[in-house]
């Protein structure tokens, strides 16, 4: 694409040609030839510049937090020498570019592409763009280089002063005597990442889908957080709920509890137990495309740690659920509520 300078040069070349023809002014033809050469060399150098480098992602998965910045490490390798390149990438409207003054043939240059983080979620990064203005900036040639990467935007969270009672917080973080190791507590649907040795083959054959055995470490109290991923809710409301869930999970882990985060989204039921990073990643990838909450609870029933009241974080709940602590948005008829920034507080005693 010609830049405004390129368009102006082309216009001047055409105008001067007409003028040179009319006046039969030889030097004007010379000037026209110079301008045409400028355009030709500008286009050729821009096209060559765009093909003069190879771009690869230094990390296929990049993590960031809502409202933060994505720092995407990129390796630029010079196939031929090039100047004044802009390397750009992004997710949706959020884009970042980095300027490279010069790269020589065979040179490897690590770059960091920075751009504002998009909304919470797992975003595929499919291409990196090379923008070459050539030597004289009369044209701008863009080349898309396919890459395979992912930007994982984690939810914001807050440290809460207290967790809702009954969620496991009141239990001691010390294992009870006599119970050590894992105990078989039931079976559930297979989830990506489950070890193959946990697959319960007999049940799997019976249910015609993979079923895994579920074990529990009874030594650590577990706080179960269920997130309502009902497809009917608004994306922003769901994001606020996830922030609330993140705040709960983080506070629980900081308090020495084991946390299980569960939800049923479009991909099926999921439950994650682990350290904060694993929980945070799981919350980042949640999508609001699941079934209504009652159906989700029914599907998750067997998965949830027994004997404890799960914390249900929902963007659209009305009133308290039986056998669960429901945390709704500000103004909802729930005993606990979360705000837009992930703060969770008690609203009324039910």
């Amino acid at each position: 694409m010609p830049t405004s300078e390129g368009t102006a040069s082309a216009f001047l070349a055409g105008f001067f040609f007409l003028l040179a023809t009319n006046l039969m002014a030889g030097w004007l033809f010379f000037l026209v030839a110079f301008l045409v050469a400028l355009l030709a060399v500008g286009l050729a150098s821009a096209a060559a510049g765009a093909r003069a480098v190879r771009v690869t992602l230094a990390a296929s998965k990049v993590r960031t937090v809502e409202g933060g910045e994505v720092a995407l490490p990129v390796i630029l390798e010079g196939v031929a020498g090039a100047r004044f390149l802009r390397i750009g990438a992004g997710v949706g409207e959020r884009r970042g570019e980095v300027f490279v003054g010069r790269i020589r043939r065979g040179q490897r240059q690590p770059l960091m592409l920075r751009f504002p983080a998009p909304a919470r979620g797992a975003h595929a990064l499919e291409r990196v763009e090379i923008i070459s203005p050539g030597l004289v900036g009369l044209f701008r040639v863009r080349r898309s280089v396919p890459v395979r990467g992912e930007v994982l935007v984690r939810p914001r969270f807050q440290r809460l002063a207290a967790l809702p009672a009954g969620s496991g917080a009141e239990e001691e973080g010390v294992p009870a005597g006599g119970r050590r190791g894992e105990e078989l507590v039931g079976t559930r649907e297979y989830l990506p990442g489950d070890p193959a040795r946990h697959i319960h083959w007999r049940s799997s054959r019976r249910h015609r889908r993979l079923i895994v055995k579920e074990f529990d470490d009874p030594s650590t109290p577990v706080a179960a957080i269920v997130i309502d991923a009902d497809a009917a809710q608004h994306r922003e409301a769901f994001d606020r709920a996830v922030r609330g869930a993140a705040s709960l999970a983080h506070t629980a882990i900081e308090g020495g509890l084991d946390v299980a985060v569960a939800a049923v989204d479009g991909r099926g039921p999921m439950m994650t137990r682990g350290n904060w990073d694993q929980i945070w990643d799981a919350l980042a990838g949640l999508r609001a495309d699941g079934p209504p909450l009652p159906e989700a609870m029914a599907r998750l029933g067997a998965l949830l740690p027994p004997g404890r009241m799960p914390l249900i974080v929902t963007a659209g709940a009305r009133g308290a659920g039986r056998g669960a602590i429901v945390i709704g948005p500000e103004g909802a008829e729930t005993p606990w509520e979360f705000d837009a920034e992930g703060g969770v507080r008690r609203r009324w005693r039910g």
Partner: protein, 704 residues
């Protein structure tokens, strides 16, 4: 500290880039000098240069301020410049170019006081191109090149800085680069700019050679020197500065001027004229530029018998002319108009050189004189730097028409143009009769004489003075048998008059050589020439060329400038080289080199082909790699449709082995292997790999 601050400013882009400012300033300054070099701008040239310099400095110092008062002053300045332009236009509507140029110069100068941003600098660069174009339009010689070369270099470097700064503005600098590191270092800017200029010179040279030159000059306001405030100097008499009138009437040869541009032509004057450019002509056709016509042969030369002139006056240009008394057919059959602008480079006589017959003339003066032969005489000599434009109505009769013209001549034509002095010898008349014995019509007689002279006599500028007394034509035809164009023309006229065909001598300049850069025909002293005009009833005076090696006037009238740039260059070089006689030692050295030229050309072509082949192989390799990967991606998509999705962390080989367990097709493994080779092997993919991959994908799609 101050040094560090300056370095940071130099390094930073955008409005703070001092380097971009410096190079843009050099461009603007060069364009100011280029445009003012070709006209009499006097002190304005230095005033403008000083003001532009001050403007760029002020813009740099105040680049981060709002400068409201400067903008107000500049607006007033623009209005003042526009007012001056309009005033100059109303004072002299026929000379708009100089006021317009001054107006443009003022705009450029005023603009240089308000250049806060990079975009403003770029605009300044673009307007400097416009100034260079105006300078190019003014230019009639090669001096423009002396301005263009530094301008082009400065423009290249400025564009490099602009591209670097624009890139930095649009994107953040690379993480590995510190912020103070410039995208283009000062030390590498000039060499890179020079390399860019080299590329542009090569490409631009090719473009210039291949640019078509179409017929032009459709303009209505034609250039000429503004009216010169001097009084009448010559009232119809002819003055040749190279040959001042002597008391004894004899002329001594002067290599700086042609002896044929006076009241008489002495055929005994000998010598070779130099190659100095005397004038340049901008026109669409190549023709002989006629100056004077001579009707009376004296035996030793020619003279103009009738010096009576008719004055033509016009208060505003152009001056419309009426043909001379001997041009009986006026402008009949002369439909076409031919515009010619003459740029005088060396002092010339007070004769307007032009293609006959002149209809309008634009010149510095309100009157001219036309003699009976339709020659235009000026009230002043043509001094160096003077410009005049002529609109002529040329005549190009067909041979058929001339053949059918007959011999019904008007009486006054016969009385004047069959004149022969007693010195003409009987053997000359006998020769004329013998040559034209088989020619029934005047046209065939003219052709017979013309052919005879072309075939039997040699053109030679080295002949000495006439060794015997007597008739000059007789001496040429029977003694010397070689000579100048004047001898050939005189001989043809005498022979034609001897057989009753009215003819006369015309002097002027041949078309000259087109300068490939200026696009103007360069007329040199050595292009001065004499030829013959023959009268044909119903048609008028028609040019003929009796001198061998000169183009036949019937063949003239071709494009003033060759259609293609390369033709102009080759014609100019061959014409210029033709006038050079290199020393023997140089020829001795050049001859072996000349023999080696075909070999060198062959080697050059071979090297070029090898480089092209290498480039094609490299491009082909990259293309093959892309094709292989495209085939692999096609296979992955197809397998995904079968429910076999490749996991994010899965390598192609792992995916292939997993696929083989679900759908055992050998093509999957083979295509995966080719893709791995394309991606990871040192040699990359070949065209064989790409066709293999495409074939494997086709097979898979068939079974899918």
């Amino acid at each position: 500290m101050a040094r560090l601050s300056l370095r940071r400013r130099l390094a930073s882009g955008g409005e703070g880039s001092a380097a971009l400012r410096v190079w843009t300033y050099l461009c603007v300054l060069t364009s100011v000098f280029a445009i003012t070099a070709h006209e009499d701008f006097g002190a304005l040239r230095y005033t403008m240069a000083g003001l532009v310099t001050t403007g760029f400095l002020l813009s740099w110092v105040r680049r981060r301020r709002r400068n409201l008062w400067i903008k107000v002053v500049l607006s007033v300045g623009c209005l003042w410049a526009a007012w001056n332009f309009l005033r100059a236009l109303s004072a002299d509507p026929f000379h708009t170019s100089i006021p317009l140029t001054v107006f443009l110069l003022w705009l450029q100068t005023l603009h240089s006081y308000d250049l806060p941003r990079r975009r403003d600098l770029l605009f300044s660069l673009l307007t400097s191109v416009v100034l260079m174009a105006v300078a190019a339009a003014f230019s009639v010689d090669a001096t423009y090149g002396a301005f263009f070369a530094p301008y082009a270099l400065a423009a290249c470097v400025a564009l490099l800085y602009n591209t670097a700064d624009a890139g930095r503005e649009a994107a953040q600098p690379a993480a590995a680069q510190p912020l103070t590191t410039p995208a283009l270092r000062g030390a590498e800017a000039l060499p890179t700019g020079a390399a860019l200029l080299g590329m542009l010179a090569l490409t631009g040279g090719v473009v210039f050679l291949l640019t078509p030159r179409l017929p032009g000059l459709f303009i209505t306001t034609l250039p000429f020197t503004p009216t010169i405030p001097f009084g009448e100097r010559f009232s119809g008499s002819i003055v040749n500065p190279a040959y001042p009138q002597t008391s004894n009437g004899e002329s001594v040869f002067n290599p700086n001027g042609y002896f044929g541009f006076g009241p008489s032509v002495d055929l005994r004057v000998r010598g070779r004229l130099n190659d100095a450019v005397v004038m340049r002509v901008r026109t669409t056709e190549r023709r002989n530029w006629r100056g004077l016509v001579f009707d009376t042969y004296t035996g030793t030369g020619w003279r103009i018998d009738d010096h009576r002139v008719r004055q033509h006056t016009s208060a505003v240009p152009p001056i419309a002319l009426v043909h001379g008394r001997d041009d009986v057919y006026a402008y009949r059959d002369r439909e076409r108009r031919l515009v010619q602008t003459f740029y005088i480079q060396r002092d010339q006589p007070n004769v307007a050189f032009a293609v006959p017959r002149v209809e309008h003339i634009y010149l510095p003066g309100d009157h001219v004189y036309v003699d009976r032969y339709s020659s235009v005489r000026l009230p002043f000599t043509l001094d160096r730097g003077m410009i005049y434009t002529v609109v002529s109505r040329p005549l190009d009769p067909s041979p058929l028409r001339l053949q059918a013209a007959g011999a019904a001549y008007p009486r006054f034509i016969l009385e004047r143009y069959l004149q022969l002095p007693p010195s003409v010898t009987p053997r000359t008349s006998a020769l004329a009769r013998r040559i034209t014995a088989d020619a029934p019509t005047p046209y065939t007689r003219v052709q017979a004489v013309n052919r005879y002279l072309w075939g039997q006599y040699a053109y030679d500028l080295s002949i000495g003075p006439q060794r015997t007394r007597g008739d000059a034509v007789d001496y040429f035809l029977f003694e010397e048998r070689r000579g100048y164009c004047e001898q050939f023309a005189s001989a043809m006229i005498v022979l034609l008059r001897s057989v009753g065909v009215p003819a006369r001598l015309a002097t002027g300049y041949t078309p000259g050589t087109v300068h490939p850069l200026t696009g103007l025909l360069e007329i040199r002293n050595s292009d001065a020439h004499a030829w013959v005009e023959v009268f044909f009833p119903g048609t008028g005076w028609v040019e003929f060329e009796p001198t061998p090696s000169f183009p036949d006037p019937a063949a003239l009238g071709g494009p003033g400038v060759p259609r293609w740039g390369w033709q102009g260059v080759t014609e100019y070089l061959s014409a210029r080289l033709g006038t050079v006689t290199p020393p023997r030692w140089l020829m001795g050295a050049l001859l072996p080199l000349a023999r080696a030229v075909p070999w060198m050309l062959g080697a050059g072509v071979l090297t070029g082909l090898l480089l092209l082949g290498r480039l094609a192989r490299r491009t082909g390799r990259e293309g093959a790699e892309a094709q292989v990967l495209a085939a692999y991606r096609g296979m992955v998509r197809m397998l995904a449709r079968r429910g076999l999705r490749r996991r994010i962390a899965e390598t192609p080989r792992e995916f292939a082995s997993r696929t083989a367990r679900a759908w055992n097709r050998p093509e999957v493994g083979e295509l995966t292997e080719i893709a791995e080779r394309a991606l990871f092997s040192a040699t990359g993919a070949t065209s064989v790999d790409s066709s293999l991959a495409a074939g494997l994908l086709r097979k898979l799609r068939k079974v899918h």
